[in-house]
């Protein structure tokens, strides 16, 4: 028993580290895609679950990112 412990530790550590790396990467990619959606395409969809109908009429994200949206080439009203 006593000689088994070090070998499992050596095995477990790199796998855990790799799994964390993969999770961080996937999380970052999702966050990046949501960010791009918010800046370039959102017409109130992202905030409507929180704010309700006013999200699409006031269009907060669109209006805040308005100038960036125009200058970075995305369609705007």
């Amino acid at each position: 028993m006593s000689f088994e412990q070090p070998s499992t530790q050596v095995l477990v550590r790199p796998i855990a580290k790799q799994a964390i790396g993969t999770l961080v990467t996937i999380g970052a990619v999702i966050l990046a895609l949501v960010t791009l959606y918010a800046v370039f395409l959102d017409q109130g969809q992202l905030l409507s679950p929180v704010l309700g109908k006013v999200a699409s009429t006031a269009n907060y994200l669109h209006e805040l990112a308005h100038d960036g949206r125009h200058l970075l080439g995305a369609p705007c009203h």
């Binding site: 966050l31 960010t35 791009l36 100038d67 970075l72």
Partner: protein, 240 residues
């Protein structure tokens, strides 16, 4: 992968900040002019509109938007670079080529098919269809860039000469641009003076170029620095 991701985030921040600073100083005055024209036209037509945010808030929003877009592109760029290149060979050339591909796919192709327009142009009724068509140009651009990369790599492996390889890649890229023209044109009326429109469009393309250039150059320099550290100090090889 995490090294590449971290470099991507840092590079994206640099590209986004560069694009933001350039746009803030040179493009915002042009957009303010376009917004003022639009407001004057609406007043003359007796339309009553409520602005969600003031212009000065939108100026700050612009800086946030460019930085956020830079960071997001930086993350995606870092992940793609990490997946494509496992070794640290030619960090400068690889970084610039991938950034060039990103600029082509996500900026140049959409811009050539649907050139950006200043505020005041764009019918709110057609925003959904315009957004969809614009997204299709991004997808076409991405497919074309990936194809160009595959062609370049395939021909290199077969030992084809550089001039022919590069012409083949240029052919793929031109074909990609041509393909976007099967999409229907943007029919929105442009009621802004043509000089203002084109000044805005050139600034828009320059801003996008700066974003991708800042991203690629920073990523390349970070890779070069890491490569230099490895070659000058072999003890650090194991740390990487």
């Amino acid at each position: 992968m995490l090294t590449s991701l971290k470099r991507g985030v840092l590079s994206g921040a640099v590209g986004g900040a560069l694009a933001g600073a350039f746009g803030y100083l040179l493009a915002e005055p042009v957009m303010d002019q376009a917004v003022a024209l639009e407001a004057a036209r609406q007043r003359a037509a007796g339309e009553h509109t409520v602005d969600t945010f003031s212009r000065s808030t939108q100026h700050v929003g612009f800086l946030f938007a460019t930085l956020a877009v830079g960071l997001a592109f930086g993350v995606l760029y870092g992940v793609v670079h990490g997946l494509l290149h496992k070794d640290g060979a030619d960090p400068w050339g690889r970084a610039l080529r991938l950034a060039g591909g990103g600029f082509f796919a996500l900026a140049l192709v959409p811009f050539i098919r649907y050139p950006s327009n200043p505020p005041g142009v764009g019918d709110p009724a057609t925003i959904d269809s315009r957004s969809h068509l614009w997204t299709v140009t991004l997808v076409i651009g991405l497919v074309g860039a990936v194809l160009a990369g595959l062609v370049a790599r395939g021909l290199l492996e077969r030992g084809v000469r550089a001039c022919l390889r590069q012409l083949a890649v240029a052919g793929v890229l031109l074909g990609t641009v041509g393909l976007t023209f099967v999409l229907p044109p943007n029919t929105d009326e442009i009621a802004v003076p043509v000089g203002l429109v084109w000044q805005f469009r050139l600034l828009s393309l320059t801003t996008l170029a700066l974003l991708w250039a800042g991203l690629g150059v920073t990523f390349g320099l970070l890779g070069e620095r890491a490569a230099a550290t490895v070659s000058s100090d072999p003890r650090e090889l194991s740390a990487l």
